[in-house]
Amino acid sequence: MNTILSFSIILLAALVHASFQLSVGCLLLLFHRNFGGKKTRARTHEYVGSFIVGAGLTIFTVLSALSFWVVSAFHSGIPASFWITEIALSVGLGLFLLLFYYRRGKHTELYLPRKLAKFLSVQIKKANNNHEAFGFGVVSVVGELPFVIIITLVGATSLAELTSFWRPIASLMYVLVAILPLVIIGFTLRSRRTISEVQKWRVHNKNFLKVMSGLCAIVLAAYLLAFKLVPLIGGY
């Protein structure tokens, strides 16, 4: 029962993680700058692949590091105060996603420091090989870490509660779900769909994405409250 519960929390956390859009935006910019810069389709897709691997490995590293920290810090079980903190942060993140994450207007600009966004879009133009594309995958995850770390911490806490047999499987599941939008967009662009079709879809479904991601974070908080905090305080 506990294993299933931990897996469901990790899955829900990964879904919220997947709804963050900086990596998706960076992937589209990378595709635009390279395919638009007369690189061949095959070479551009290689870069897209490297970008996704970079993003995936970074998520895996952050998740593992946080999980290691949780295991080392709480030998005798996760205290109620820690769950309360995670619940409060998840609700806060949900509200942030609902109210502020996307800027208003017919575009997909995010609530990021404009200097960071400009830096990324200028630097992505210069990505000229697989290593640089990999590096941008890393940077796109790190750039959103101030927000995403809350969700990754929830995932890592549930990961720490699993046995060592299930941990690698759950980590892999988290990473695969978190990079799923990147993989889907990678395949969409590979199947001869154009970047404008992808961007149009993102703009038209911006509100849906906003509501879904915000609600998922709040549902995750409710889930933690009902299945982790209440049993812990209630003592059953």
């Binding site: 970047i195 404008s196 961007q199």
Partner: protein
């Protein structure tokens, strides 16, 4: 053609460059799988039109240029027009 200043939102400014505009349209078109010949044709049409629009203006913003360019692209390639109009606001 008299020099036209492009004023950015961060208050930096630069002189309008036809080559830069042409390159950005070409890049957007190629990224949208528009064949190279058609992309060049679109880029030429748009640069001509923007050039005409700039006459009599001393200062413009990049937003103005994008808007006028996108309006010209619209009948030629609606998908590309949408992407060009909003392509600088992806992240």
């Amino acid at each position: 053609m008299p020099e036209v200043t492009v004023r950015h939102s961060d208050k930096k400014s630069e002189l309008f460059s036809v080559d830069k505009l042409r390159a950005s349209i070409l890049s957007a078109a190629l990224a949208n799988s528009v064949p190279e010949g058609q992309a060049t044709q679109i880029a030429d049409t748009v640069t001509k039109n923007v050039d005409k629009w700039l006459k009599g203006r001393a200062v413009v913003t990049p937003k103005d240029i994008r808007r006028v360019a996108a309006q010209t692209i619209e009948p030629l390639h609606p998908g590309l027009a949408f992407f060009y109009a909003h392509g600088d606001r992806i992240i």
